[in-house]
């Protein structure tokens, strides 16, 4: 699938081609998640299913440690103003 046949012209096309695939989303507040992408809009509002969210809780101090919390959600709306990046599934 090259760019000309799939019609990639702008960044949002990369997200469009990830519809119904598992994507990685990085969010503000040291959060990230993966989920299957079902909808998005120009604000990067997203609707994902089968979501696993990871929250990094940084304990600052002499020896800074990071606690990681995970949780799962069936169907989730994510408000676009918290989205830093959306990455398509890795094709290895």
């Amino acid at each position: 699938m090259d760019g000309s046949s799939s019609g990639i012209q702008e960044p949002f096309d990369l997200i469009r081609l990830s519809l119904s695939e598992r994507v990685f989303v990085k969010l503000r507040g040291d959060r990230e998640m993966t989920g299957i992408l079902h909808a998005y809009d120009g604000h990067m509002n997203l609707i994902l299913s089968d979501v696993e969210e990871t929250i990094m809780i940084v304990n600052e101090g002499e020896q800074a440690t990071v606690n990681v919390a995970k949780r799962k959600m069936d169907m989730l709306f994510v408000r676009g103003d918290g989205v830093i990046l959306v990455s398509p599934p890795s094709r290895t």
């Binding site: 990639i8 990085k26 398509p88």
Partner: protein, 121 residues
């Protein structure tokens, strides 16, 4: 905002961006969800003492500052003994941290994205 219409003349709880909780009777609102409260009081929560109510009187609250408006069930609310409640204040909404370096590091962690946008014809 039509969805605030139902709250006029009702006793409401406002939660603000900085975590403050204010109760009062909604006297009015406008399309920017600016709200006028009459007979309003701030409820100050702490772990050491019971809830303190500070009278504010007639108050205009800017819509941008409001995160939530809740209708109070007056019988339920009056049944609560505020002096016995110990709770942390509601957390404020953190302003977004500034970007730049942070964002750049994020991108470097995911070279896949940069590669993908380069192959665009």
């Amino acid at each position: 905002m039509s969805s605030l219409q139902g709250y006029v003349d009702r006793r409401v709880l406002l939660i603000l961006q900085d975590g403050r909780a204010i109760v009062g009777v909604m006297a009015g609102f406008d399309q920017k969800s600016n709200v006028v409260l009459s007979d309003s009081k701030e409820r100050v929560y702490s772990m050491e003492d019971g809830v303190e109510e500070i009278p504010l009187g007639l108050y205009l609250v800017k819509g941008d500052m409001i995160i939530l408006i809740g209708e109070l069930d007056e019988t339920l609310d009056q049944a609560v003994d505020l002096a016995s409640i110990r709770a942390e204040p509601i957390p404020p909404i953190r302003p977004f941290p500034s970007l730049a370096v942070n964002e750049l590091l994020v991108l470097l962690d995911f070279p896949y994205i940069i590669f993908q946008t380069r192959v665009i014809p």
